[in-house]
């Protein structure tokens, strides 16, 4: 795992609760908004299960700590999106809270329903980008969620030991978390 320069992280007095809001989903109107929300809910829950951080969904976009949005091309942050495939999404380190998805992609929440050869799993990308929002940079571990690339029609949502150790180095461990709850194959290679 790796961090951004200076190892920025979210800091609050008392228990850390971050609000998040999802902007308009008109650009992906082929997916019901409720399913987009559900994918992000699962992605946030995964990270929350390993660190002492709560995520609360809000409809107040401007006031939210984490702002999720679908954008295309040049959308004003100096990192324009590039159309189909290529760059899928990006997010910014703490405490920016910006998480942007390229609306030119064919996003999918269920590959049994979405037949496109270039479909990209929304939940996998959401889980990865939330890692950036929390302060993780890219990992060299190919199996890790924080590895930088993801092939079309591929799902990678489960946190691996590398992801967990990285985020716990920033925030500590969720008292309810045990490494045995990760994949058996993953825990067998855990260094600690």
């Amino acid at each position: 795992f790796a961090f951004f320069p200076g190892e920025p992280r979210w800091v609050r007095s008392g228990p850390l609760t971050l609000t998040y809001a999802i902007g308009p989903t008109d650009a992906v109107d082929y997916i019901p908004r409720a399913e987009v929300e559900a994918a992000f809910r699962r992605a946030f829950r995964r990270w929350a299960s390993v660190i002492p951080v709560r995520f609360e969904e809000t409809t107040e976009y401007e006031a939210a700590d984490v702002k999720v949005g679908f954008y295309s091309g040049d959308h004003g942050d100096g990192e324009p999106f590039d159309g189909v495939l290529g760059v899928l999404a990006h997010a910014f380190s703490p405490d920016s809270g910006l998480l942007h998805l390229d609306s030119a992609e064919r996003w999918a929440v269920d590959f049994r329903v979405e037949g496109s050869k270039v479909a990209v799993d929304l939940e996998s990308v959401a889980t990865h980008e939330i890692g950036h929002v929390l302060g993780l940079a890219h990992s060299r571990v190919k199996e890790a969620v924080m590895y930088p690339s993801l092939s079309p029609r591929t799902r990678k949502v489960e946190l691996r030991v590398d992801d967990v150790e990285g985020v716990q180095a920033l925030y500590g461990s969720n008292p309810n978390f045990t490494f045995s709850s990760l994949f058996e194959s993953d825990t067998s290679s855990a260094p600690k």
């Binding site: 790796a2 961090f3 951004f4 320069p5 200076g6 920025p8 942050d77 990192e79 999106f81 590039d82 159309g83 189909v84 495939l85 290529g86 760059v87 899928l88 999404a89 990006h90 997010a91 910014f92 380190s93 920016s96 910006l98 050869k117 270039v118 990209v120 990308v125 990865h128 980008e129 950036h132 940079a137 890219h138 060299r140 571990v141 190919k142 930088p148 690339s149 993801l150 092939s151 079309p152």
Partner: protein
């Protein structure tokens, strides 16, 4: 000289992933098996790709020429190391496949200030 990509005896492309006509980085497949000392149309685009994702020290360097030079080789070697690929310092099929795979826009280098909007 032009890379003999379309000749019958050209590079073996069987290890490259199936493409899509709209794929942003599909054109990089023409660079298969390129190595130091060659000039190939498209290397300049790949230099800009490497600069964008943190493999050239300065994004303001001249990245427009198509020379597979020592600086490009260093960037390629660093890319192969960081992405857990066999370090061949060549644009082999496995490396090109990784380059063409869709990815996150956050640079891989954690040492550059432009990484992930730290400055924003």
């Amino acid at each position: 000289r032009p890379f003999p990509a379309n000749q019958p005896d050209g590079p073996d492309r069987s290890h490259l992933p199936p493409g899509h006509r709209d794929d942003t980085w599909r054109s990089f497949e023409r660079l298969l098996d390129a190595k130091r000392g060659t000039h190939i149309p498209g290397i300049g685009d790949l230099k800009r790709y490497f600069a964008r994702f943190g493999y050239f020290p300065s994004p303001t360097s001249n990245l427009t020429d198509n020379a597979f030079d020592s600086r490009f080789e260093s960037a390629l070697t660093l890319y192969q190391t960081r992405l857990g690929l066999p370090v061949t310092s060549k644009l082999d099929a496995r490396t090109l496949s990784q380059i063409m795979t869709p990815r996150c826009g956050v640079p891989d280098s954690v040492n550059l200030n432009r990484t992930g909007g730290v400055q924003r």
